[in-house]
Amino acid sequence: MQMIIANTLVDGFVVFLTDDNGWTNDIGKGALATNDTEAATLLAQAKAAEAANVVLDPYLIPVVIENGNRKPTEYREYIRATGPTVAIPA
């Protein structure tokens, strides 16, 4: 399974493409592509959003479901989805 990950232009935060061609900070609410055709469709939508200056650098990432949660298989993308592994100084 794949999802689209990107950064929003105006605030830079990590977002996922949704089923209704929107963007969400929550990986749980993003669109899931279960085959290559769906993935290509999502990517085309994402590229259009990039051209429209909504997001930066969108691309597909593989994800799996683990304990009911979506988890990117690559560690780098996992960190992007969940945040730094070290606490933010309070």
Partner: protein
């Protein structure tokens, strides 16, 4: 410290407005990302894993209390309430939003700060000795020339599109705390036989994928020729540096490929044309800048060694902090205080807005309103009366800034790594924190003695791992984080690049490896011998055997 005049202020304010205009055009879609990216980089704005990151210059590491308070304000108002001090004496904000950057830059411009050229293929922040102007071992104060270089290099129309980034460092002490031998240009100030102050010019040092120790291309350069000579070096680099391969584009590659003698010849040939040009520095200009760095009106005091010894005997924690964190000041009765940003509670180099504000107050109360940032991600209060040290220590301890570990095992340099940085292959901060946690016993820390551990999360070496006594490089091996070790690096006047121990260790064995290395050292060292000296005496063999077993 230097204060902006009308010209400096005008330049920075115009730059703020220029970037505001460029940002508005970008958000409206009038500028595409390929056009905007170089513009935002030249104002210090990166896009990282989670958000934009804004890097603000702290010129040669000198910071006023007023500026520190504004850094706190920016952290609170536009970020998540903290900042990170870097290995080039800068500060980074990890969560800044593009739409807020023009306002953040405007707020910083009010206190004479900016991110101009903190990224991009241009001349970056010129860095220096964090003890400049106050160190007992200082020959000449490098800050004067750092300020002169800063102005010359800011928005230089000829050198804003170099083959790659360019970093300059200056030391005025024979004990080099500025790592000049691993910079693109390193300048070492000293006095010749006639007693005149001048520069040794070292070119082509650097870390990253292909580390090099710099080569001396000019033994003696009088101050009046400083800018013309730098301009000659930059012009040769601008023309002859490689532009076909990003990883071979630094000046160190050029110097290595043509050789120091040929490189020197090219520079001298160019310099002949311009040495007497408008770049020649009049003494009046040197004096004018020098006036900004005049010593404070210090009181006439006696050395307070006895008092401090007594206070230390009564309080062992204070004694440990005195020994590790306090350095000798050139004026009797004064001391240099290092503020450790390496407590266990936060990533190395991080500081909350509350800590920044509190430290600004301490600078005002105890150090003429001035601080320094060093390249090991710690801060300095440069001018503290010895008689104030105990009180200051108590206040620092109350805000977790008094860990007595400067220059010791837990005073670790760690780059942001894969937790933050888009370039990283592995995380560095958790390894640093694990090492710190493993070495919590201050007795153990002081038993190990002087030690620098530097951790980088990728080959770009922002954590300076090549020049750590122990260097750790995080790599990605088939999706797992592995850590490779080097031993025997040093960034001081006897600079050396570390030697690889052998295969890397997975994350859950990395700290054990550190312990193994240090246990080996403690076992075989001569009395009073630092880790670095033991390594240089015995070589890699005993460490390799301890880590990997007999050959």
């Amino acid at each position: 410290m230097y204060r902006y005049d009308e010209f400096d202020s005008k330049l920075v304010n115009e730059r703020v407005e220029q970037f505001r205009r460029q940002t508005e055009r970008r958000i409206k879609g009038e500028l595409q990302e390929e056009q905007f990216r170089p513009l935002r980089l030249m104002n210090g704005l990166y896009l990282q894993l989670h958000a934009y990151m804004l890097r603000i210059n702290v010129p040669y590491g000198v910071l006023s209390a007023r500026q520190m308070r504004q850094l706190a304000h920016v952290a609170r108002t536009y970020d998540k309430g903290y900042g990170h001090f870097t290995t080039r004496q800068n500060i980074q904000y990890n969560w800044i939003q593009l739409k807020d950057v023009p306002d953040a830059l405007a707020d910083l411009a009010e206190v004479e700060m900016h991110g101009i050229q903190s990224s991009g293929n241009c001349i970056r922040n010129t860095t220096s000795d964090q003890y400049a102007g106050v160190a007992r071992d200082e020959i000449e104060d490098p800050r004067v020339y750092c300020e002169i270089i800063r102005q010359w290099s800011t928005l230089h129309p000829e050198f804003s599109f170099l083959p790659r980034k360019f970093k300059i460092a200056v030391t005025g002490s024979p004990n080099d705390r500025a790592a000049v031998k691993v910079h693109d240009i390193g300048l070492r100030m000293y006095r010749n036989d006639a007693g005149e102050a001048g520069f040794e010019v070292i070119v082509g040092g650097g870390q990253g994928r292909t580390p090099f120790i710099g080569k001396t291309i000019r033994e003696w350069l009088p101050p009046e020729h400083l800018l013309s000579y730098l301009e000659a070096i930059l012009r040769v680099y601008n023309f002859d540096g490689r532009r076909d391969n990003k990883y071979k584009a630094r000046i160190k590659i050029l110097v290595h490929q043509v050789g120091a003698d040929e490189f020197r010849r090219r520079v001298d040939e160019e310099w002949e044309h311009i040495k007497d040009s408008a770049l020649k520095l009049p003494q009046a200009e040197i004096d004018r800048i020098n006036a900004y760095f005049a010593p404070h009106d210090y009181e006439t005091l006696q050395d307070q060694g006895d008092l401090l010894a007594e206070q230390g005997k009564a309080n062992t924690e204070f004694a440990a902090w005195l020994k590790a964190n306090v350095a000798n000041h050139k004026v009797p009765g004064y001391a240099i205080v290092n503020i450790s940003l390496k407590s266990l509670r936060q990533p190395p180099g991080d500081m909350t807005a509350a800590q920044m504000d509190a430290t600004a107050d301490l600078a005002d109360a105890y150090s003429y309103g001035e601080l320094r940032v060093n390249h090991r991600q710690n801060l300095v209060l440069p001018d503290v009366r010895q008689s104030d040290l105990f009180e200051l220590w108590q206040k620092l301890a109350s805000i977790d800034l008094a860990t007595p570990n400067i220059g010791h095992v837990s005073d670790i340099i760690a780059c942001p790594g894969l937790d933050y940085c888009a370039l990283a292959n592995a995380r560095s901060i958790p390894i640093a924190q694990e090492i710190n946690a493993r070495f919590q016993s201050m007795d153990r820390v002081h038993e190990i003695g002087e030690l620098t551990i530097n951790i980088s999360g990728c080959m770009n070496a922002c954590g300076h791992h090549h020049v750590g006594h122990i260097g750790i490089l995080g790599v990605d091996k088939k999706g797992q984080e592995f850590y490779q070790f080097t031993l025997g690096g040093s960034s001081d006047q006897n600079a050396s690049l570390g030697d690889r121990t052998g295969p890397g260790f997975p994350a859950d064995q990395a700290v054990d490896a550190v312990e193994t290395i240090l246990n080996t050292y403690v076992k075989i060292r001569n009395e009073g011998e630092r880790f670095l000296d033991t390594y240089r005496r015995v070589g890699m063999a005993p460490f390799k055997e301890a880590l990997y077993g007999p050959a």
